[in-house]
């Protein structure tokens, strides 16, 4: 990465650019009504419906934990991933996508800052859903292991970050990719076990889920809230991290492709 000049200065200027993109993305979310839908309203709806259904007589009591955390996970994933796509689409509609592309800062640096902004807001989704569970349904996490829970959440964040940063350039390059965004979002709800365990899925679906990094982190996250095992945290964290880094390796080639193809097609200016 020699973007001309002494490496120390180059790195400092790129960190500053990424941080500026992060601040911008946070500020735009604060003032956008849509953003509150994604991190506040939708997760809350999922959590309340989940908690209601899972509290009905006949539902297994161990299931309730999916109501407590599931809404937050859905909100976190939606903001981290959907907002990466929405962010690009908004730039396109604003006419700023072309402007930022033409600056001396590589696109991945700008998206790095934006994705981090999305992750921060995504984490907020756990606040209303946990509050709804506690105050509305008196539901708590039965046997919370705080350290393992925090590490699992950190590993999950890594996986969301890697997926968002890998997929964001696709939205820049292909306008049609944006139309696929909701289908993939819901697919991950199912395959990664946000609201029910992956074990209830068909064997082939469980096989597909195994290739998705969040699956293993979500498994660890839920395991950190219940006492009964088996618990293999180290392996789950390792698989999540390994898969996440593999996505990043793919992203390296994807960004090179975007840098080139966007300049061939000239589609960045199109809405």
């Amino acid at each position: 990465m020699n973007l001309l000049g002494p490496q120390r200065l180059v790195v400092r200027s790129l960190v500053r650019a990424a941080f500026s993109a992060f601040v911008l993305s946070v500020r735009l979310r604060v003032i956008s009504p849509w953003s509150y839908l994604n991190w506040l309203v939708f997760p809350l709806l999922f959590a309340i419906v989940g908690l209601y259904v899972l509290s009905l007589p006949g539902a297994g009591s161990s299931h309730l934990v999916y109501g407590v955390l599931g809404g937050g996970l859905i909100g976190y994933w939606s903001v981290a991933y959907i907002d990466a796509g929405n962010g690009i689409q908004d730039e396109r509609w604003n006419g700023t996508l072309e402007q930022i592309f033409a600056t001396p800062t590589p696109l991945w640096v700008i998206l790095l800052g934006k994705v981090c902004g999305g992750l921060l807001f995504g984490l907020f989704a756990f606040v209303p859903t946990a509050a709804a569970a506690f105050f509305g349904f008196h539901a708590v996490l039965p046997a919370l292991d705080p350290w393992r829970f925090v590490i699992s959440l950190g590993v999950l964040t890594l996986s969301f970050f890697c997926i968002a940063i890998t997929m964001a350039p696709l939205f820049a390059l292909w306008r049609w990719a944006f139309s696929m965004i909701n289908g993939f979002e819901l697919g991950v709800y199912i395959l990664c076990g946000f609201m029910f365990p992956v074990a209830v899925l068909a064997p082939w679906a469980q096989g597909v889920a195994g290739f998705l990094a969040p699956t293993w982190a979500v498994k660890a996250l839920y395991a950190a809230t219940v006492a009964q095992g088996p618990h293999d945290f180290a392996a789950w964290w390792a698989v999540t991290s390994g898969l996440s880094l593999a996505y990043l390796a793919g992203a390296y080639f994807l960004y090179a492709l975007v840098e080139r193809e966007a300049r061939v097609s000239g589609e960045l200016a199109l809405v």
């Binding site: 989940g50 259904v53 899972l54 009905l56 006949g58 539902a59 299931h63 999916y66 049609w176 139309s179 696929m180 909701n182 289908g183 819901l186 697919g187 709800y189 199912i190 609201m195 029910f196 365990p197 209830v200 899925l201």
Partner: protein
């Protein structure tokens, strides 16, 4: 009566233009994304969730409910475009 006729004409023309525009706007990818991928995954998610929470006996109810909701979406979002 003449006024009503004129308005009916405007209605008919806009109806026709909307219909034609639909095919100008449509793409195979867009159709697959919005009319196949999204509905199928939504139905699968809610059915699987409901079955996990309440048992297999409610699966059809959840599938039909989601199908109805997805159909209603077109009516809700239609006037936006």
């Amino acid at each position: 009566m003449k006024h009503l006729g004129l308005e009916a004409g405007v209605f008919a023309r806009s109806l026709y233009l909307q219909y034609v525009a639909l095919f100008q706007w449509a793409t195979v990818r867009g159709y697959i994304a919005y009319k196949v991928l999204l509905p199928v995954t939504q139905i699968l998610f809610f059915v699987q969730w409901g079955v996990y929470a309440t048992g297999r006996q409610n699966a059809l109810y959840l599938a039909l409910g989601n199908a109805l909701q997805l159909t209603a979406n077109a009516a809700i979002f239609g006037p936006r475009s």
